[in-house]
Symmetry: C2
Subunit: 308 residues, 2 copies
C-alpha cells in the first residue's frame, strides 16, 4: 500500500502524464514555455510539504512548503492549484477515511494562520489570478505577505479567503462544496464496466461516457478520457481568467461535442489529438481541469479503487 | 536546491521520460508488459528507501526498502538496477561531496549485513539475472534470503558479492570502478558547447557526439542523446543476459552507427525512432543502459550541472 504522501505525488505525476489532456502539458506535448519535465520536478519538489500535511501539520504551512518546494524544483508554477486541493485531501487521509465530510471538516477548521501561509505561498511562484472582489482589494493575493495584516484585522481563515472567490475559481469552489467534483472524478476514474453512472455535476449523457472510460483498464488512458469529460462538463475557471468566459464556454462546448452519447460514438484518437493541438496553438491551458483531475486521481488511488 | 533524495527520485523520473531511449519504456513508448506509469509509480515508491540512504542508514537496508517500496507501488520490477547505483550515490551525497573517491569509500565499507539485505531485496520483485559463477552457486541471488547463511559463513560484504559479477553485469561493475560510467554520463549530460570532450570509456569519436548533445539545452533531449551514446559505447549486460552476447553486440553496433562523427551527421529523429521501434519489436530492453543513465542524471543534478 502506498502512503497518502506517495499517492499524492503519484497523482501529480499521473495527471501530468495522461495524454491527450487538451491544452495541458502531457506525456506527448510540451508548451513553448512549460515542459513535461518541469511537472516531474514540481511533483518531486512538492513532496516534503505534502508529507507535512500527511503528518497532521497545519494545512497552510504544508501548502506553503509544498508550493515553495515545487517552485524551486521546477523553476515555474506547475501545480499550485492541484496542491491547494491535494493538501487538505492528504491531511484528511492521514487522519482517517477520505470522505467528503472529513475533508470538509479539515477545511472548515482552517485558521487565520493558514490564510497567512496561503498568502506567503504567492511569494514563491507566479500564479495567474483574477482581480479580487471589490470588498477584497486589500486582500489581493498578488500582494503576497503584504496582505497579511489586513487578513488578521478582518480575522479571515483560509476557508473564508477561498470562499470569497468560489464563484469564479473552480479550485477554490471545491473547498466550499466538500470537494464534490474531485470526488465525482474519482468515481468516474474507477468506473467499472456496466457500473451505475455517477451522479454529481454531470451534464452529458452519463452512461455512454462512463462506458467509454470503463472500456480501458489502463489508468493513464482512463485519466485522459476523464479529463475530456471534466473539460466538457465544468467551465474551466482558469481559461476564463486567462482569456474570457466566452473562450471557456467554447472550450467546454467543443470538448462536450467530442464526448460519446447514445447516438455519438466515442471520439477517435485523431479527433482527440486534433483538439489538443488546437488548444495548444491557441495557448489555451485549462488549468482548473488539470487540478481537479489530480485531486480525483489522488482520491481514487487513496481508496485503492484504481490500479497502476 | 533539491535534496539528494529529491534529485534521486527526479533522476528516476527523467530517465523514464527521456525519449527515444531505444528498447526502454519512455515518455512515448510502453512495452506490452511494462508501462510508463509503472515507472512513475516505482520512483514514488522507492522514495522512502532513498531518503534512508540520504540520512546515512546502511546501504543494504536502504536498498531493500527502496526495492520493496518500488515493487509494491509499481507492481513490477521497474528500477532495481538503477536503485543499486543510486543508493550508494545518495548516501555519499548525504555525507559530503559526490566524488568518485567518496562513493568508492561508501561501497568499500559495506558489510555482510548489507549483503544480506541485498539478498532479501530479491524476495520483493522478480529480477532477471544470469547464473552465478561456479564458486557462487550457494549464493545465487535467486535463492533470496535462503542464501544468507552461506553469505555469513563466507563473510562476504555487498561489495564482495557485486564484485563477483562485475565482469558480467554493468551495474555491479560500477561498484568496483568508482562509478566510472555514471560519472562519465554526468559529464556528457552537462556538456557545454565547445567544451572539452569527456575521457572515460568513450570509444566513438568524442567531439562530434559531445557537440551533438551540447546542441540542445533541454534536459530530456540531452538525456535521450546521452542514452544513445551509452548504448553505442558500452555493451548492455542485461541484453546479454536476457538474449545473448551477440545480440548485445549487435545493439551496440547499431547504436554506434547512429552516433555522429567527423564525417557522419547526427541521426535524424526518424532514424532514432525507427531504431527504438525495432528494439521494442524484438523485445530487446537495454536495462543496464537505463540504469546507468539514471545514475548519471543523479550525479549531474546533484552537482547542479544541469537545469530542468
Amino acid at each position: 500500500m502506498r502512503s497518502p504522501t506517495e499517492n499524492a505525488t503519484l497523482a501529480l505525476l499521473l495527471e501530468a502524464a495522461a495524454a491527450p489532456t487538451p491544452g495541458n502539458v502531457d506525456r506527448s506535448r510540451d508548451h513553448p514555455d512549460l515542459r513535461f519535465e518541469q511537472f516531474l520536478a514540481g511533483a518531486v519538489g512538492a513532496n516534503e510539504g505534502i508529507a507535512k500535511a500527511a503528518a497532521g501539520e497545519p494545512v497552510g504551512a504544508a501548502f506553503e512548503q509544498a508550493v515553495a518546494g515545487m517552485g524551486t524544483s521546477a523553476g515555474e508554477n506547475t501545480q499550485f492549484g492541484a496542491l491547494l486541493l491535494l493538501i487538505p485531501l492528504v491531511r484528511t487521509a492521514g487522519e482517517g477515511p477520505l470522505t467528503a465530510e472529513n475533508v470538509q471538516e479539515v477545511v472548515d477548521t482552517t485558521t487565520v494562520a493558514d490564510a497567512a501561509a496561503f498568502y506567503r505561498a504567492f511569494e514563491h511562484v507566479d500564479v495567474r489570478v483574477d482581480d479580487p472582489p471589490d470588498d477584497f482589494s486589500d486582500l489581493d493575493v498578488r500582494r503576497g505577505k503584504a496582505a497579511i495584516p489586513a487578513l488578521e484585522a478582518r480575522d479571515l481563515t483560509l476557508l473564508d479567503v477561498l470562499a470569497a472567490s468560489a464563484d469564479r475559481d473552480g479550485v477554490a469552489r471545491e473547498w466550499t462544496v466538500g470537494f464534490e467534483r474531485s470526488m465525482a472524478i474519482a468515481e468516474q476514474l474507477r468506473a467499472e464496466d456496466g457500473a451505475a453512472p455517477v451522479e454529481a455535476g454531470v451534464q452529458t449523457p452519463r452512461t455512454a461516457v462512463a462506458d467509454w472510460i470503463a472500456r480501458t483498464d489502463r489508468l493513464l488512458e482512463r485519466a485522459a478520457r476523464t479529463h475530456l469529460w471534466v473539460l466538457g462538463t465544468a467551465l474551466d475557471s482558469l481559461v476564463a481568467t486567462a482569456h474570457d468566459e466566452a473562450t471557456a464556454r467554447s472550450v467546454r462546448d467543443r470538448a462536450r461535442a467530442l464526448l460519446p452519447d447514445e447516438t455519438t460514438p466515442p471520439p477517435t484518437v485523431e479527433d482527440r489529438e486534433a483538439f489538443a493541438q488546437r488548444l495548444v496553438e491557441r495557448e489555451i491551458n485549462p488549468g482548473m481541469t488539470a487540478d481537479l483531475l489530480a485531486a480525483g486521481l489522488f482520491v481514487a488511488l487513496e481508496r485503492d479503487e484504481v490500479a497502476i
